[in-house]
């Protein structure tokens, strides 16, 4: 009896030492993930400041944020979808639909009705996406791809295929263009939205359930997490974010077109999330890192433009960065075993 207890204790000391060492390595890797996007972002920022005088002008920087407002909102919500083990390829189409819906409504109704209804449309389409994926058990890639065609068609029907142009005098224009401390309201709204989603994912029970559903759906279900319900909510949030992006850009640009988002926006959003280090396999991810990822891509595009690179090179550079980001993710996973 005595002998057995003794060996057990020695074993425990050994294993806990090894544990401590490996834990240190893990923490490093965890922060390494943030560094993986944070450091390149900082380096790029500094390089552009040195290289290009117009880059670090306040106007240019605010412009970048203003232009990226919709993408940031959609990517923040898309992060939750991905972490929960899903994928939403319909955000570009929802964005297109909501631009024309809000454009149409803003022509004839009060701005608040236009904004409110549009957000509800986004939320509703997201709920439909979620229900299809969760209850019909259709693979999310196929389900949301199919939905993107349907939504795109509906958007064309709503707009009649026309470009909708709004007047600058409407209150609707103020929604995204009012200035606070010389920063447009579009940026403020999206900032608040992104911060809320970041807190939801990292600090709430819902966020925990999102992570659990994507990490191991079976284990989560047996532990009492309503995985289907959680996943549906993430799709609904994604739809809502696409709606928000649609309203903001319609108000910002005073024009709306059914095909304004499309697959280009969808893939840009996905690229931003992945460059931010969120795993496409689900189970882990971070909204702030997604925000950095989206802005990183925006800086590259902006920098290349300012430095007079041929615009044709932009997608090539983006593709290479995407491969590098995913490659790093695979490597980090392997290291961790």
């Amino acid at each position: 009896m005595n002998v057995r207890v003794e060996t057990e204790e020695t074993l425990e000391v050994e294993s806990s030492n090894a544990g401590r060492f490996r834990l240190g390595a893990f923490r490093l890797l965890g922060s390494w993930r943030l560094a993986g996007i944070g450091i390149p972002f900082a380096v790029l920022f500094v390089v552009l400041c040195v290289w290009s005088a117009p880059f670090h002008s306040t106007t240019n920087l605010i412009n970048i944020l203003d232009q990226q407002a919709a993408t940031l909102a959609i990517a923040a919500a898309g992060t939750l979808v991905l972490v929960a083990g899903g994928l939403d390829l319909s955000v570009g189409a929802i964005y297109g639909l909501t631009t024309v819906v809000s454009g149409n409504l803003a022509e004839h109704h009060s701005p608040w009705i236009a904004i409110g209804v549009t957000l509800l449309v986004g939320l509703g389409v997201g709920l439909v996406n979620g229900a299809i994926v969760a209850y019909l058990k259709i693979n999310p890639l196929i389900a949301t791809l199919a939905m993107s065609f349907v939504i795109g068609g509906v958007a064309l029907k709503v707009s009649g295929g026309n470009l909708i142009v709004l007047s600058q005098n409407s209150g609707f224009y103020k929604f995204a263009n009012a200035q606070f401390w010389s920063i447009p309201s579009a940026v403020w709204i999206v900032f608040v939205f992104v911060v809320i989603l970041a807190l939801v994912l990292s600090r709430t029970t819902f966020g925990r359930y999102v992570v659990a559903s994507g990490g191991n759906a079976e284990a989560a279900r047996l532990a009492g997490v309503r995985v289907n319900q959680i996943r549906i909510i993430t799709y609904a949030l994604s739809g809502l974010a696409a709606g928000l992006g649609g309203v903001i850009d319609t108000s910002r640009l005073l024009s709306a077109q059914a095909n304004s988002g499309g697959s280009g926006l969808t893939f840009l959003v996905l690229a931003g999330i992945v460059v931010g280090g969120t795993s496409i396999a689900g189970g882990e991810g971070s909204v702030p890192r997604t925000a950095i990822g989206v802005l990183f891509i925006a800086l590259i595009y902006n920098g290349m433009y300012l430095l007079n690179f041929n615009v044709l090179y932009q997608p090539i550079v983006l593709g290479v960065i995407l491969l590098a980001a995913v490659g790093l993710d695979v490597w980090a996973r392997k290291r961790r075993g």
Partner: protein, 519 residues
């Protein structure tokens, strides 16, 4: 590759039905736990050689070593006097040793003939010569007497027919030794009969069949030689003529007690009934009824595939229930969601903690608090300090040893991972706990700790159901034991009647009689 192997073991040797396969002093350890120690046996051509033993006795391990799936730590093998050492099943196949495993390896989208010749297609310049391969297939099918069309799609076949495809695949590779691991576990009565006939005909043709089976009657009917294993050791090899069901059971029994169990506190029958299962029907569960009292540990024994886990999942409402009722503390438990069952006071610790229990990449803390985050949050916001305090207390209660609660669970030992699942269950303060294989893959020290936990939970007034393939564990812990077979509860044992003999006799009883009783 294949040419070299043929050089090493000349065709003539293998073709002359190999000569004897001799296994000498083979041992295998998994993480320090011996699965097989110093086993030697000889398999002669034209015989059916059966391996019997309890779950975990080492039968499958031995089968896998012979077929090259795993390589032994010690010991050697030879075929017809030529020494063998395999690094892969492919190399074993080149020497005429083929395995038919429990999980069939059929490609559902291909036809029967394509499956049989998968990897060794009859082809010219990369194009499969379909007519030729069909002709070869028909020839082979005629030889073994199978009624299979080469053009049927494999996905449309019954399990028995799929097994036939596997067997034809084995034969098409000129197998001289066929290893079959639980070939009839998934088969119906008629299919079983057909397979038995195939096994006999293989032996008649001078091939050897190594038959691993749980069903003693099947073994006695088919085998020429029977080897009994227990705790990884060879107990004896006897002629089937000299063996009886009783002598085989006796050979599988009587292992040394390796773990001490906590003292059983006698539960009184007059205590409240916390769980009442009546005529429960679900996939794999057939008309099961039992009651569970507060403070009682109920053991569920049976062979792998007897429906024990299915019963647990049906009670937990994780599987579709097609009939019968489950009452938890007198109230009927309906619905079909685990989350509802947990809120009503029923928790379930599933059998494979990595696949069904843990979020393997996440922290100890997140894994423990997952089921009852509502206890440490307000309006959906997690109160960090409260969660850490609660999780810290629980880790102390169940003695999870981790450097930090922020550590990912993948870094914990199996025993600590299992204790973590107990911590999660304790946090739910349930009235009934169902633990499926609570000590699988756990070291001896942690085993004892888990036994203590189960006993303590029962003493605190919970009803505890322990499902285990480790018979010793069921006998050591349970106040009452249910024995399951083919989805039914065959026997209920209590008090003095709980012993290995009784449990094994019920668990190993002949499958065909059972079938005729039920139908």
């Amino acid at each position: 590759m294949s040419t070299r192997n043929i050089d090493e073991a000349p065709r003539s040797t293998a073709e002359a039905s190999g000569g004897d396969l001799v296994v000498t002093g083979v041992s295998k350890r998994y993480g320090g736990v011996p699965a097989l120690s110093d086993v030697s046996l000889m398999i002669t051509p034209g015989t059916v050689h059966a391996l019997v033993g309890e779950n975990g006795a080492g039968k499958s391990t031995l089968g896998k070593i012979i077929s090259g799936v795993i390589s032994p730590d010690e010991g050697s093998m030879s075929l017809g006097g030529v020494p063998l050492s395999f690094r892969s099943p492919r190399e074993a196949m080149a020497h005429g040793i083929v395995t038919i495993v429990q999980e069939l390896a059929i490609v559902p989208g291909l036809t029967v003939a394509e499956n049989v010749y998968l990897g060794v297609e009859v082809s010219t310049a990369g194009f499969v010569r379909r007519r030729e391969s069909r002709r070869q297939f028909r020839e082979l099918a005629k030889k073994v007497g199978f009624d299979l069309s080469p053009d049927w799609r494999a996905s449309t076949l019954s399990i028995a027919d799929q097994q036939k495809v596997e067997i034809m695949r084995a034969l098409s590779r000129n197998a001289s030794i066929v290893v079959m691991d639980e070939p009839t576990a998934a088969l119906s009565g008629n299919e079983t009969k057909a397979l038995h006939e195939i096994i006999r005909s293989l032996a008649r043709e001078g091939k050897s069949v190594i038959l691993i089976s749980h069903f003693l009657s099947e073994v006695l009917a088919l085998a020429d030689v029977i080897t009994t294993l227990r705790d990884g050791q060879l107990i004896r090899t006897v002629d089937a003529k000299d063996a009886t069901e009783e002598s085989l059971i006796e050979g599988m029994l009587g292992h040394s007690l390796t773990t001490a169990f906590p003292e059983k506190v006698v539960a009184q029958d007059d205590k409240d009934v916390v769980l009442e299962v009546e005529h429960l029907q679900a996939p794999g569960v057939n008309d099961c009824s039992f009651v569970l009292h507060a403070g009682e540990i109920l053991g569920v024994a049976g062979l792998v595939g007897a429906g024990r886990s299915e019963l647990a999942r049906a009670i937990f409402r994780d599987a579709k229930v097609t009939g019968g009722t489950v009452r938890l503390k007198g109230e009927e438990l309906g619905g079909h969601s685990p989350s509802r069952s947990i809120r009503r006071g029923l928790v379930f610790i599933p059998e494979s903690r990595k696949e069904m229990g843990l979020l393997i990449g996440r922290s100890v803390k997140e894994n423990i608090s997952l089921s009852r985050l509502d206890l440490v949050s307000r309006m959906g916001w997690i109160a960090g300090i409260r969660e850490r305090r609660k999780v810290g207390d629980l880790m102390k209660t169940v003695n999870v040893r981790a450097a930090s609660m922020r550590m990912p669970v993948s870094m914990l030992s199996g025993g600590n991972q299992q204790k973590l699942l107990f911590a999660r269950s304790v946090m739910c303060s349930p009235s009934v706990l169902i633990a499926d294989e609570p000590t699988r893959g756990v070291d001896v020290g942690s085993k004892r700790a888990i036994y203590d936990l189960l006993t303590e939970m029962a003493e605190s007034g919970m009803g505890v159901v322990v499902i285990s393939s480790d018979l010793e564990e069921v006998l050591g812990l349970a106040h009452r034991v249910l024995v399951m077979r083919h989805g039914r509860i065959i026997t209920e044992l209590s008090g003095e009647r709980i012993n290995e003999q009784a449990v094994l006799a019920a668990a190993f009883a002949e499958p065909t009689t059972e079938g005729s009783v039920s139908s």
